[in-house]
């Protein structure tokens, strides 16, 4: 079910001047035995201080690859950023050396992984895993690092932090482990937090708690969050802006209200239709028919053509331009071209 949290839709304009991350025309490819996969094909977006940008899309659309590319964690080879820029506070990350990148990674940009059951090292104590990052990045004594760790454990809501820090990951439940993972990500007070499906591996009640924790942390620290997910319920709860990805491209982006109430791309509309809803009880779900295109040989035109109920001749041949519907809302679809007036939906 999608429930929109109005209080959370912040005035974006206020923070406009404080851009944290700028991604421009990012292309990432992976060389495999079967050929070259074009996983990300020209992705651009901005992230501002204190906001949550959700990147939404189905499996294999390139959302996780995009986040890895920002972190500089694309395994090279086989992966490669072939084109584009990732600019973090004025610094071009794709041009930095490995060593310079390591200084930013974990310190200014942190990452939260999907599965808390495997993201923590089973053989090290929680304390060790909390403090090793900050010890690496900042000249700080062990005692200070420990104090900071206790503070973070409190912030993410783990009771008895002093005692529990001495324990190993297997002594914590899944939800608690995800809290620890979040605490680790926050240790160095990052300006950008990339959360790659942070609630997918958790059960529903824990999901809600973790999402609330994200909101609380953002309130307290003003950290910008990129939330990678395929769960529209999660998006509805905490996102400020949404970018919808399909076949390695962002096909529609806008504020939460724009995407949920005025979706313009047929794919976004399809996504929203395929979510189970309480008020449409008894009706069958409407799936999007077909499968995403093969990224070994992506189509020349709009990648959604084959599955699109409104596909036109031009869609197959030429990639649509980005059409701006408002200062925040843009859509890559031929239906919005002025020449397609008559084809548009009622």
């Amino acid at each position: 079910m999608i429930k929109i949290n109005y209080e959370n839709t912040r005035e974006l304009q206020k923070n406009k001047e404080k851009m944290v991350l700028e991604v421009r025309d990012l292309h990432v490819t992976f060389k495999t035995y079967g050929g070259t996969v074009q996983a990300v094909r020209g992705v651009s977006f901005d992230v501002y201080q204190g906001e949550t940008l959700a990147i939404v899309g189905e499996s294999g659309c390139g959302k996780s690859v995009t986040s890895s590319a920002i972190m500089g964690l694309i395994p090279t080879p086989p992966g490669e950023i072939t084109k584009g820029q990732v600019i973090f506070k004025g610094k071009e990350l794709t041009r930095l050396s490995k060593k310079e990148l390591r200084k930013i990674r974990g310190s200014d940009i942190s990452m939260i992984f999907q599965d808390p059951m495997t993201a923590l090292n089973p053989t090290l104590t929680v304390e060790e895993q909390l403090t090793e990052g900050i010890k690496q990045h900042k000249s700080i004594s062990s005692a200070e690092a420990k104090k900071k760790a206790i503070e973070m454990m409190k912030l993410v809501g783990i009771p008895n932090p002093t005692e529990r820090m001495k324990q190993y990951p297997h002594q914590f439940s899944g939800g608690m482990r995800q809290r620890i993972v979040i605490a680790i990500a926050l240790m160095c007070e990052p300006e950008l937090l990339i959360a790659d499906e942070p609630t997918t591996a958790l059960d529903v009640t824990i999901q809600a708690q973790i999402l609330e924790l994200f909101e609380e942390i953002q309130e307290k620290t003003g950290v910008a969050i990129i939330l990678i997910t395929h769960d529209l319920g999660v998006v509805a709860k905490i996102a400020d802006r949404i970018a919808v990805m399909y076949a390695g491209k962002i096909i529609e982006s806008g504020t939460k209200r724009e995407i949920f109430y005025k979706p313009n791309h047929p794919y976004t509309q399809g996504l929203l239709h395929s979510v189970p809803r309480l008020d449409l009880k008894g009706k069958a779900l409407e799936p999007i028919e077909g499968t995403p295109p093969d990224l070994f040989a992506p189509p020349a035109g709009c990648p959604f053509t084959a599955r699109c109920p409104h596909a036109m001749e031009v869609c197959e041949k030429v990639m649509p331009r980005s059409e701006s519907l408002s200062s925040t809302h843009s859509v890559d679809c031929w239906l919005l071209d002025e020449r397609a007036e008559g084809m548009r939906l009622a």
Binding site: R105, G106, E132
Partner: protein
């Protein structure tokens, strides 16, 4: 933990007892006796000798005497060299064998792990292929073949190192090399494959995302997890090295325990067979116990507890 150790101790005693019993009956199942030689001794003399060593008693009485000797750890005099007690032989030979065994296992562990880690980090690179080719060779070539080969090359042809005996560090190089190559190769292959598996784990990705240096990621986060399978086979490898020392000691004329062990079987020297077997099995069982303890040190998820919990 204490409960576990006590339980393990009793298990160890039972294991050694079973080994000792099997050895005893196998030993007596082989036809002949220590005094049964081709040239034939005077019958009266033979009877006297057998009476002296208690060999004229029925088997169950001998078994009882044997158990008593094990319990007191006094195996009496050797039959072949009556001037020496078995305990003398052990206390003279064991330190040398132990030294050879320990140096070997350390060399095998250190070089095997390094080789495995490097191969895993350079996965499918030239270093990986070279290391794994060396490893396959190491596993395939028996240590006695390798021993004769390196004696020929290093000692005879190139005159770099002494060919035999055990008196200075230089003397230790060739026997250690011969004995350590096999276990090293096994450890290297195992370390490589488990490193490759561990390196794809999420917590390694997370360590990278923390901005840790590659060295820290490998040694702090990956290696410890990758070593579990290595620890598992360490017990078997130790057994292999201990028994391997018999052959290597023979080839390199090292005055360790192996020599007495092999000779005693040929000579039907019952007290020496008994003594060395019980001694070896005690050490081996103890080593396996240490390996189990090492598990719990490496992985906090493994708790040592007697059956039914703590």
């Amino acid at each position: 933990m204490a409960k576990y150790i006590i339980k393990r101790f009793f298990m160890m005693v039972i294991t050694v007892l079973v080994i000792a019993t099997l050895t005893f009956f196998l030993m007596h199942a082989i036809p002949g006796s220590p005094f049964n030689e081709e040239r034939g001794t005077n019958e009266a003399v033979q009877a006297n000798l057998e009476a002296f060593y208690g060999l004229d008693e029925p088997l169950y009485v001998q078994y009882g005497m044997y158990l008593k000797r094990i319990a007191t750890f006094d195996f009496g005099p050797s039959i072949k060299n009556p001037t020496q007690s078995v305990n003398d032989l052990l206390s003279r030979g064991f330190p040398i064998s132990f030294e050879l065994g320990m140096i070997t296992i350390i060399v095998a562990l250190v070089s095997g792990i390094i080789l495995g880690v490097v191969a895993a980090l350079r996965h499918n690179g030239i270093i990986d292929y070279v290391a794994m080719t060396v490893a396959v060779l190491g596993i395939s070539i028996p240590n006695f073949v390798l021993a004769t080969l390196i004696i020929q090359k290093f000692a005879v042809d190139w005159q770099l190192l002494p060919a035999a005996t055990w008196s200075s560090p230089a003397h230790m190089v060739l026997p250690t090399l011969a004995l350590a190559t096999g276990p090293m190769a096994i450890i290297a292959r195992l370390t490589r494959s488990s490193m490759l598996e561990v390196l794809t784990q999420d917590y390694i990705k997370m360590a990278k995302a923390k901005g840790l240096s590659p060295l820290k990621i490998v040694f702090k986060h990956a290696l410890r997890n990758a070593l579990m399978p290595v620890v598992t086979i360490l017990g078997t490898l130790l057994a292999g090295i201990l028994t391997g020392t018999f052959v290597i000691e023979k080839i390199f004329a090292i005055p360790g325990m192996g020599k007495y062990f092999v000779e005693s079987i040929n000579n039907r020297d019952y007290p020496v067979i008994m003594g060395t077997t019980v001694f070896y099995s005690t050490i081996l069982v103890f080593m396996l116990f240490l390996v189990d303890i090492a598990y719990s040190l490496l992985d906090p998820r493994i708790k040592l507890a007697a059956k039914g919990g703590e």
